[in-house]
């Protein structure tokens, strides 16, 4: 059977990620106005943010499909992509040009969500395989 908590978590994750994306983008714009943010530092930050958004969409779609169709392949792929998302979230938490307190808060929440999701995915894969 599909895991209901995982599905709920995907849904919440989707909404939260939209919020996260908009807030991070707004804060990068704010930082570029208030601080000295030269172009060769601004470009990688923006690039990673957009890559992260694409990965997130892919990840949530595959995870949701795998959970609903009770197949472990898309779910496994989603788990692999989650690793990439985690690394990007850590980038925004630690290796960004300017890390504000708000950045720390939203990235921490995102990492916590990823962690919870990963655990539930592993459980779901285990359930589907057997």
């Amino acid at each position: 059977l599909s895991s209901v908590p995982l599905q709920i978590l995907f849904y919440v994750n989707g909404i939260y990620y939209i919020f996260y994306f908009l807030v991070t983008l707004a804060m990068i714009v704010y930082k570029s106005q208030v601080f000295s943010y030269p172009d060769d530092f601004l470009a990688p930050d923006l690039a990673w943010l957009f890559i992260m958004a694409i990965l997130e969409v892919l990840r949530l779609y595959l995870g949701s499909k795998g959970n609903l169709t009770e197949e472990e392949a898309p779910l496994g792929l989603s788990l692999v992509i989650t690793v990439g998302s985690v690394i990007l979230s850590v980038y925004f938490l630690v290796w960004q040009t300017y890390v504000l307190k708000a950045d720390v808060i939203i990235n921490a929440v995102l990492l916590f969500t990823y962690g919870l999701e990963s655990v539930l995915k592993v459980i779901a894969i285990a359930a589907f395989v057997s």
């Binding site: 804060m27 704010y30 601080f35 000295s36 943010y37 530092f41 630690v94 290796w95 960004q96 040009t97 300017y98 890390v99 504000l100 307190k101 708000a102 950045d103 720390v104 808060i105």
Partner: protein
């Protein structure tokens, strides 16, 4: 060895490392090895010094306050204790905002960048960038500026407004100043140019041709006069045709180099430029000269007027001479004077002037030196008159009147600093008053009355807005005071002081506030609001 050289290079490439430890930073520590007064963070001060301070000039030293958490050094004086002692605390200051900087991975983010230290590798590049007379790049060709607005469709009669750049055939007229010379903006600038005798024929900007080459729209720039300056600085005006003289090398000297250009532009009152002339100062450069100073000037004159320097625009400026003039004879008063011009005295020494005191205080020996009356400056001057027995009354009276009033005492004074001669109503007539010093009516009035003092009282008012009041002359009164000169027995002489003075009185009425009208609600009912009933 190369390692030491590389290390030395690295060391000299940047300046000393900046101090970032908050506990060691002290902005008020200016004197080396001495205690600065009221500087609580100065390490040179002892406890005895601290007990003499009244307050701490630098109470807190922090890093960038945008960081979430930063160290702060707090210095305070505990005045309750006896003797007063300094307290030092190192705390962590927390920024409560959610947008405080938690961390940054960009080294130069929060610090000023240190400028490059010149070493042998980057010296040439730094010299090219910063080594000339000014840091901003000089435009390559002056009478062309392709970055400026494109000259719009130019027709033959282009009307200018104040401050608008003057168009030449393909671009705008330029002087070596940061700004374009605007229409009606008189400017004078100087600049230094590096030259050499060998290359003087090649440098465009020292040749006359460069300055008269462009024509202002339909008007060619003519050469008005050429003054030649010799090597020892003596200037001579060249007579004869004003022909173009190009730089030439003669006997190791480069002659005919342009040292100064003065443009005179004539305009009509519709704002069109009808004439442009340039006067040049040409000089000679010898081998030792490495740079010359060129001066440039541009001035605007209205057609059919003589250029009279304004004393304010429009209100008089304190310190500038009062403009005065006469009404020429034969003009009836006042309506027909639309076309008559007041004859203005362009020579400022024959304007409204006052006797100038000389070191030799004898009135009759005075050469008649006069000083112009400057707006806002009250002046008093005088001399001593020695009357001997043989002096006749009438010539003495006339001499004294000439002395006090000067040769051509004007009839009118301009009410504004920029009053034009054509507007007669802008000019204030001078009122003459005569008073006699005698209080008691003397039966011997037939005796000689000689003028002893001239008091000019100029009443002015502030005119216009409260924020930028303009001075306007309202009334000018010239009061001559006479006294009786009693006939002296022969051999005796008497000294009378003669004075003349100018007083400026401000008769401004207090400012009236001008309020905007209350906003009204402009609500009208539609025409057929009460339709069925009306």
């Amino acid at each position: 060895p190369p390692e030491i050289r590389a290390a030395a290079r690295a060391r000299t490439h940047s300046g000393p490392a900046p101090v970032t430890d908050v506990a060691k930073l002290c902005v008020c520590d200016l004197l080396v090895a001495q205690c600065d007064v009221n500087c609580c963070c100065d390490p040179d001060c002892s406890a005895a010094d601290f007990s003499l301070f009244t307050t701490c000039s630098v109470p807190i030293v922090t890093g960038d306050s945008r960081l979430c958490s930063q160290k702060a050094a707090i210095y305070s004086l505990d005045v309750e204790a006896n003797p007063p002692e300094r307290k030092f605390k190192l705390i962590d200051q927390v920024n409560p905002s959610v947008f405080c900087i938690h961390a940054t991975n960009y080294k130069q983010a929060l610090y000023f960048s240190s400028p490059e230290m010149p070493i042998s590798e980057n010296f040439d590049q730094l010299l090219k960038q910063f080594g000339s007379a000014s840091f901003s790049a000089e435009p390559d060709s002056w009478n062309m500026n392709t970055d400026a607005q494109n000259p719009s469709d130019v027709n033959e009669t282009y009307r200018y407004e104040y401050g608008v750049p003057i168009q030449t055939v393909d671009a705008f007229l330029r002087l070596p100043s940061p700004f374009f010379p605007g229409f009606l903006v008189n400017q004078a600038t100087k600049c230094t140019r590096s030259v050499s005798v060998e290359k003087c024929a090649n440098i465009q900007a020292v040749s006359m041709l460069f300055y008269i080459n462009s024509s202002i729209l339909a008007v060619n720039i003519t050469v008005q006069s050429i003054v030649v300056q010799s090597l020892n600085g003596m200037r001579t005006l060249l007579n004869g045709s004003n022909v173009l003289r190009l730089p030439l090398i003669v006997d190791e000297l480069c002659i005919n180099t342009v040292l100064g250009v003065s443009y005179h532009i004539t305009y009509t009152d519709a704002g069109e430029i009808i004439e442009a002339a340039a006067s040049f100062v040409l000089g000679a450069i010898n081998k030792e000269v490495l740079s010359i100073q060129q001066s440039f000037e541009i001035s605007f004159t209205q057609v059919n007027t003589k250029p009279v320097p304004l004393s304010g625009n429009p209100g008089y400026v304190v310190g500038l001479p009062i403009r005065a003039g006469f009404r020429p004879q034969g003009y009836p008063f006042p309506v027909e004077i639309l076309f008559a011009a007041l004859v203005l005295n362009t020579n400022k020494y024959s304007q409204l002037t006052i006797l100038q005191s000389t070191s030799n205080q004898d009135c009759l020996a005075a050469q008649g030196t006069r000083t112009p009356i400057l707006f806002g400056y009250n002046m008093i001057s005088g001399c001593k008159l020695r009357i001997t027995a043989g002096m006749k009354c009438q010539p003495l009276t006339q001499t004294l009147l000439d002395l006090l009033k000067g040769q051509s005492f004007p009839e009118y004074v301009a009410s504004f600093g920029n009053s034009q001669a054509q507007n007669v109503l802008d000019w204030v007539p001078i009122t003459h008053l005569h008073t006699s010093e005698q209080r008691i009516y003397n039966a011997f009035q037939s005796s000689c009355q000689i003028p002893v003092s001239l008091e000019i009282e100029v009443k002015w008012t502030k005119y216009g807005s409260l924020l930028n009041p303009q001075a306007r002359i309202v009334n000018v009164t010239a009061r001559i005071t006479t006294t009786t000169a009693k006939r002296l027995p022969s051999g005796r002489e008497r000294t009378i002081p003669i004075t003349s003075s100018v007083v400026f009185t401000d008769i401004s009425s207090p400012a009236e506030p001008g309020y905007k009208a209350w906003p009204t609600i402009n609500a009208k009912l539609p025409f057929d609001f009460f339709f069925p009933f009306v």
